[in-house]
Assembly symmetry: C2
Homo-oligomer: 585 residues x 2
């Protein structure tokens, strides 16, 4: 037995016990003839006391302990004279009788505190030290707690976790694959799975009925902030279900997780909104429902009054920011700058204040009389003190997205996006396809296995772009935490889908033959969904980035700076793999 | 709601309920005017009844259902006239009023039965159909149940599951890595982890204290039977522990799993045996302890009697097979052939029967008088009716291994290796190093991070080959299910270890610099172990191979024949990765 207790568990009831503790030196203070050392481990901090008068040699050794030294001590639990109510062990201290230095430590390059002085780069290089900080460790503890809870819930619902392989075949449809050269099959490559999608569908063909897996997935994409080349999905699939069965079950799981992890009881059914409404009222397929500020379309109200920007617009829409009429000219200019940033791309911003007396004062008063402005005000139901913000543009979808960014920014500025409040939403009835300008063809919005809505199947031949899918996303606080669909189980419908997506029958067979063949042997109706674990944990942890809920994340170039990976291979390794590296200049 | 019940849950108490079921047609029989269809899903089989007199059209459609068609039916639960006590739903049947064909099915290439007519190759190609067989599905259900139980146990013991990355750095020490070219870092490669060994040690440096992970691991080795290029480990690590702490905790987990999964209560502490004793008495570092037949060394007893084979031997040893004196000449010849097979490599086999009257009759009577043979008999404590089998050779270790194979074979032949009995054992005190003839240097037997036994550290300088390690394996029924060690946490000792293993300081720094640097910042004493999940599940499932407890295994060439992976890449993909394939002729 290396230690009798951890540094987080001793209490007043343990006074007078002889104990052995081990951990890291968080800090030490010398006060007169006494030396106090805070000993830290995963479970907490316990104060150690050394008394020069009692044992000068021991106290002298304690005085020479450096930060992050690893020590083991024996001593007697003592009631503290001045208790610390802020820490669970704050009622006691250990009068040390034996001190054993297990390992020394260089001075860490940043402080091991929640508010560290280390920047991102150095923290990532020394991630093993960064992970000592309680704030980071708590994120990973939460992640653990969450996967335990997910597994408990799904197990109780009859789901079986099945491990699907990591070395699979490459499927050029979708994002770019990471590939793995096969030494035993010269010139051939495995791919790492972008998701277990097709394999979980095969498990449904196998009659597994309810499958899940917390699975690593891989995408070789240029990394934006908050994307990782490897990420983790809670991947689920069910047979003999309709969309509502899936939504109900996973809404249940979500409520269970909120209760287990955050202690929040969500009693109401989650809101459901069609994709079309989400775009119309929020300009986003993942609206943040913690606040209102829904879009009001203003084409009829504002066109034809001589203001050329609006008169030429394909879309005019606005939001009403309650109580923001006090915004100064400077603040409004900043908002205008915000929407004009290249990432957003609006041309300008029109505003209208509702004054205390009810009159409306706008930035385009020259074109609109008070009567028109009052009608505008009525459309928003705006009250004195409110601020109306209006965007327009020649592409309705693009303008809506700009207005969505503005809405979120106003939500931030007005404090409407409290991280400790949660608004859950199902977005349903996604379009089946979206047009790709680069590919010059229709692409599957979700993936090629998504089932079209039954009532829209006839449109596949006549007007495919209008077809809606049995696809759904779960959105929490404006973050898409998960999504899924009912899948096609009819081989003929699947073949038609590949045709619309521009696959020749040969190419479809080559890439997805195993799945289409499987469907010929009795595929059940099935569907499922997948949650992004990293994103969900970061939401629960109140983090802005997924990085700090991942133990060893990669940077934006896909590098692990701690391991210094990736790196070059020995020539002999390349040779065994039948590969030659040829880096373009 | 797609169905009201599964095919496994209806009972006599459900009689007269209107139900909706869905599933696969297992088989159908026409008996007079009645048609009986067995409907199957994951949960069981329910008998459906169609009556020609009641509804001829419906019955006609039922008669045309093929094997593995997917159907949905509505009907009334009815008490069966002739009940089937062998199935949980055997008391009832469904009188069908509505039949809906959800999908047709081609005739499967093999029968979907526990005893299928399909061979290995065709079952793997159509693995999705193979997985429909209850016997295969039960293995995966057991695997799921086992990981749920492992996680529950470790969570309750304060372990945190931490996901470590799959894209890591290549470490040429150990087995061959699978590598992944990085598009964003031209000419550089990630490696897939052979195990999370170094990362879990970093987590100990981080103070995680108790870590586990059920992790995919990868080794690009030539595949022997029962090896997979990707496999799953239950990977664990603890800080501030001694060997006994780890052994006790995981012995507890093992007992918990035996109880949970197999309903077996193991009350006794597991046997512990030194590696030296395991080799001496069983010729194996993973002895099957379900039966005795321990080795008896016979150099003193049998040398110097004029039998040249023994007189020249460096090792003579034997086992006593109780009650096998009745073995015929033919059986003994077959045993001789068995040990002479090239995989085993013995030169011959000497036997000695203890007759009913107590005299010993041996195959080398010419050289040994009865007095010597009686002394031999006494060494084994052999009784009338027992058979003594003796091997000799000029390399003691090799001969012991041959004798071990013979012991296992005799265990099989005498029915001493019952799959439903379990004997658990810890093998401890492994040698630190083993000599490699190919590398012409000492290699780490476990891995380079293993801690030598404190009392042997002085030998590192003088006689490294004699150093024993704080390393331990858990062996169940002759299968190594797990193993681990106390790790080195002292950077100086670690550096010395790399030196003995033939690393230059530069090479050690290049390959393991991140770990050695981490150790400078306060590494706690730590250790751990890893279980092979696939092997353990197959042991619990009573399987001879790990393949049938893996959903989608690869064949001996590392191919997934269902997905047809690996495969060739498009040139454009290779180009993006800065690679040229150059297959040697």
């Amino acid at each position: 037995m290396f230690r009798t207790n951890t540094c987080g568990e001793l209490r007043i009831s343990d006074v007078n016990r002889q104990v052995t503790l081990a951990g890291w030196v968080q800090r030490s203070r010398k006060m007169g003839g006494m030396t106090f050392v805070d000993l830290r481990d995963r479970y907490g901090i316990t104060q150690l006391v050394f008394n020069e008068e009692v044992n000068a040699e021991l106290c002298d050794r304690a005085n020479r302990l450096g930060r992050e030294f690893v020590i083991r001590i024996k001593g007697l639990v003592n009631e503290r004279f001045s208790k610390n109510a802020n820490m669970p062990t704050g009622d006691i201290e250990i009068i040390v009788s034996e001190l054993n230095i297990l390992n020394t430590a260089l001075t860490p390059p940043f402080t091991i505190e929640d508010n560290t002085d280390g920047g991102d780069d150095i923290r990532m290089k020394y991630r093993y030290l960064d992970l000592r900080r309680p704030a980071v460790r708590r994120n990973l503890e939460l992640r653990h707690k969450m996967t335990i809870a997910v597994r408990r819930y799904l197990d109780e619902q009859g789901f079986i976790e099945v491990e699907t392989p990591v070395l699979v075949g490459s499927t050029p449809e979708g994002a770019r694959d990471f590939v793995v050269p096969s030494r035993m099959n010269p010139g051939q490559f495995y791919a790492l799975p972008q998701s277990p999608q097709t394999l979980k569908q095969l498990l449904m063909v196998s009659g597994f009925d309810r499958y899940f897996q917390i699975a690593k997935c891989f995408r070789d994409e240029d990394l934006r902030a908050d994307r990782q080349p490897e990420f983790t999905q809670i991947d689920c699939e069910m047979s003999f279900v309709e969309q509502d069965d899936i939504i109900n079950l996973f809404e249940g799981m979500t409520k269970f997780l909120f209760k287990e992890i955050r202690g929040i009881e969500l009693t109401e059914p989650f809101l459901r909104m069609s994709w079309a409404d989400a775009m119309k009222y929020y300009g986003s397929d993942k609206p943040d429902m913690r606040f209102g500020m829904t879009f009001v379309e203003l084409m009829d109200a504002l066109k034809g009054h001589g203001f050329p920007v609006f008169d030429q617009a394909a879309y005019i829409g606005g939001i009403c920011a309650e109580g923001a009429a006090h915004y100064t000219r400077k603040q409004l200019d900043a908002l205008t700058e915000f929407v004009k940033r290249p990432q957003i791309g609006a041309k300008g911003l029109v505003y209208a204040r509702v004054e205390a007396d009810g009159t409306v004062k706008s930035s385009v008063d020259k074109f609109y009389n008070q009567e028109t402005l009052q009608r505008l005000r009525a459309r928003f139901g705006a009250n004195p003190g409110d601020l109306i913000l209006i965007l327009s543009g020649d592409d309705a979808m693009k303008t809506r997205k700009q207005l969505s960014e503005l809405r979120l920014e106003m939500g931030n500025q007005l404090g409407l996006r409290d991280k400790n409040r949660f608004a859950c939403l199902w977005v349903v009835d996604f379009p089946m396809f979206e047009w790709s300008d680069t590919e010059n063809r229709l692409m599957a919005m979700h993936h090629p296995f998504t089932h079209p809505k039954d009532e829209d199947i006839a449109l596949l031949d006549t007007h495919p772009a209008a077809v809606r899918a049995d696809a759904y996303d779960m959105v929490v606080n404006g973050v898409e935490v998960g999504g899924g669909s009912i899948r096609i189980h009819d081989p003929k419908l699947q073949a038609k889908m590949f045709e619309i997506l521009g696959f020749t029958p040969e190419k479809a067979q080559q890439q997805f033959g195993f799945l289409m063949n499987a469907f010929k042997y009795g595929a059940p109706p099935h569907g499922g969904l997948a949650y992004g674990l990293d994103r969900w944990v970061s939401l629960f942890a109140g983090l802005d980035s997924i990085r700090d809920c991942i133990a060893f994340p990669k940077n934006n170039s896909g590098r692990d700076v701690m391991l210094d990976a990736p790196s070059e291979l020995d020539l002999s390794q390349l040779d065994e793999l039948n590969l030659v590296v040829k880096v373009k200049e």
